[in-house]
């Protein structure tokens, strides 16, 4: 790009990045038009706020038992009632928010880099390495996620950490495949040939060129998966393979509350509602992001 008086300096920054700025404007315009995406964003942000402020906004200690007050219906003192050990359900739900978010972040933080790394390596270098990784990925993907996670979780022993490991193991193949697919198509493009011709070291090519192009698809896919991670983790805890008492994990709360379904409906219902709202919010957001970044759907709106 020609550097002239218009493009130099700070005010020139706007000029130089004109295409990025216009893209950004287009994205925000599309985002604003989609009320559902905004709703999703609000929900997710709300959840983050609740999680961060949990110690301040929860009215009671989530693990403190009060056996004299067991199984109270929702009242002004206990907005969501109390559970079988007298613990305030709302406080437990609030603390459960942070837990759910933590689980999701940790799992994705492990899986995304791992999966993308393996995928790019497989796609770029090909050969037996590619075959091997892909066969392993195919094998893992041949199991329904929940079943595989449960099997691994059962084998490792019931605990929240093992649950996270189990879920992480089931997720990486998806991202590896995605990254590999992108890498394969990018690899053939002329500008990569040009880089090679100029003598750019391989790691540079992978890191500065291929990685950024892969990341948009993988991130979109990850946002769609965020809700799923929480749901699978809750499912595992429901069965008894995940979080253990007295951790205020939502799935666990539904499970222990199941015995009281008939007469004290609030015990399993509110935690389950929390799961629903959380997963819903993430799915809204993920959908919105996917809609916006897919050029097909943007046209003709």
């Amino acid at each position: 790009m020609l550097m002239n008086s218009k493009t130099k300096g700070f005010s020139g920054w706007k000029e130089r990045h004109r295409s990025e700025i216009s893209q950004f404007k287009e994205i925000t315009f599309a985002a604003k038009k989609s009320k559902l995406t905004i709703a999703g964003l609000c929900i997710v942000l709300g959840l983050v706020v609740i999680a961060l402020l949990a110690p301040f906004i929860a009215p009671y200690d989530p693990v403190q038992m009060d056996l004299g007050n067991r199984l109270q219906a929702p009242t002004m003192t206990h907005w969501m009632g109390t559970d079988e050990l007298g613990r305030d359900i709302m406080s437990r739900v609030i603390f459960g928010t942070g837990l759910a978010l933590k689980i999701m972040v940790i799992v994705l933080l492990i899986d995304l880099p791992l999966g993308v790394f393996l995928g790019i390596m497989a796609g770029y270098f090909g050969g037996w390495f590619d075959e091997m990784i892909m066969r392993i990925a195919d094998t893992f993907m041949a199991f329904p996620r929940l079943v595989l996670a449960m099997a691994i979780g059962a084998a490792l022993g019931p605990s929240l950490v093992n649950t996270m490991i189990a879920i992480a193991v089931t997720l990486w193949p998806t991202y590896a495949r995605l990254a590999r697919g992108e890498t394969l198509s990018i690899k053939e493009r002329t500008f990569i040939e040009a880089e090679k011709a100029v003598g750019t070291p391989t790691w540079r090519i992978l890191f500065s060129n291929i990685l950024p192009l892969c990341s948009s698809t993988t991130i979109v896919r990850a946002t769609l998966d965020m809700g799923n991670v929480i749901r699978i983790a809750a499912g595992m805890s429901f069965i008894g393979l995940g979080a253990q008492s007295p951790t205020p994990e939502w799935g666990l709360m539904v499970s222990t509350g199941r015995d009281f379904l008939v007469n004290q409906w609030w015990v399993p219902t509110f935690p389950g509602l929390a799961i629903l709202i959380t997963v819903f919010g993430f799915n809204l957001l993920g959908d919105g992001i996917r809609d916006i970044s897919d050029p097909h759907l943007r046209r003709g709106d």
Binding site: L146, A151, I152, G153, R258, V262, T269
Partner: protein, 336 residues
């Protein structure tokens, strides 16, 4: 590569994957810190019993021998005996698998009818209220934890309204129809036992409602996004230029193209349904493969774990295989 080659290649891949599945299941169930024998027998079991159980499970053999035993067993459909039920695992599977198949098929039918309708309406009325409503419905559907929805439905429809039966596949006073497929609905129809048929259907309602709701959401979403993409294509414009009425444009031109993707999604849905059945059967007390496998996990019943997980994975992989082949067959661009 013509279609025939494609099929062969895909089949070969399938078998390799099945092999991998058995291997992975083996690895998971054997290289674990948890103690399977202790889980069944308890901590203080006499040493003899412990050793006898270990022999029965083949745990005394070196690992690679255990692996070959498992492999051989899997291919001869002999997974050993379930420590929990005391039956050969294969017998258990034969009892429970048709129940799940029945449930899944019923749920699938619900999902196909409602999902496609929902998706087309949402795409055609894009960004107007039917679209928004159906999108929210779909999103709630896929966000809902199946086990929670099951509990809610049990609470409302069973406890409060008494509209659903207590659990199981048939009312306790009804005898199951003579076994042809193992699926009570089909078998009772074949035997002409109509009251049994309705009773079986009645018992399927609860879990099928849960599974069906969730799958309707998935199919609705895919139908909608596929239709939206297609409605932007040049040939839809051509159809409009031809002056065809909107219904013809939507159904004969747009949906016909979308149906390829939708059918693919239906295949994938079978896999999701299999996955969903695990928790749903547990919540409803429905005696199917899903509940059996969960119980196997929790009690570390090794043979049952290997057997049920392998069966589930084979079904899942088969569904995916059929989807792949079907896609190749339906899309003329792949076939010719």
């Amino acid at each position: 590569m013509n279609f025939g080659h494609y099929v062969l290649k895909r089949l070969a891949l399938f078998f390799i994957v099945i092999l991998g599945v058995i291997t992975v299941t083996f690895v998971i169930s054997h290289m674990v810190p948890a103690d399977p024998v202790g889980a069944i027998l308890g901590e203080n079991a006499p040493q003899e019993l412990v050793e006898k159980t270990e022999r029965m499970l083949g745990l005394h053999l070196p690992l690679h021998e255990q692996y070959f035993r498992t492999l051989k067993g899997a291919f001869t459909l002999n997974f050993g005996v379930s420590l929990r039920t005391q039956n050969p695992v294969t017998v258990d599977l034969r009892n429970y698998f048709p129940a799940t198949l029945e449930l899944i098929t019923f749920a699938m039918l619900i999902a196909i009818v409602f999902g496609i309708a929902l998706g087309i309406i949402a795409a055609v009325k894009r960004n107007r209220w039917p679209d928004t409503v159906s999108r929210i419905f779909s999103l709630i559907g896929i966000s809902m934890p199946a086990f929670w929805l099951g509990l809610l439905i049990i609470l409302v429809l069973y406890f409060k309204l008494g509209l659903l039966p207590a659990g199981g596949r048939l009312a306790p006073f009804i005898t199951p129809p003579p076994t042809v497929t193992g699926m009570y609905t089909i078998d009772s129809l074949l035997a002409g036992q109509f009251s049994t048929f309705w009773n079986a259907l009645y018992h399927l309602l609860g879990p099928a409602l849960v599974l069906g709701w969730i799958q309707t959401a998935y199919i609705g979403r895919v139908t909608r996004s596929s239709m939206l993409e297609i409605l932007n294509e040049e040939y839809i414009r051509t159809a409009r230029v031809k002056g065809l009425n909107e219904r013809t444009v939507i159904l004969r031109h747009a949906f016909k193209n979308a149906s390829i993707t939708v059918i693919t999604m239906i295949g994938i849905s079978f896999g999701f349904l299999l996955e969903g059945s695990v928790l749903t059967e547990t919540v409803f007390g429905y005696p199917g493969l899903g509940r059996y496998s969960v119980n196997s996990f929790l009690s570390l019943d090794l043979n049952a774990v290997v057997g049920s997980v392998t069966l589930i994975a084979i079904c899942y992989a088969t569904a995916n295989l059929i989807v792949d082949l079907l896609y190749g067959f339906l899309d003329p661009r792949v076939r010719y």
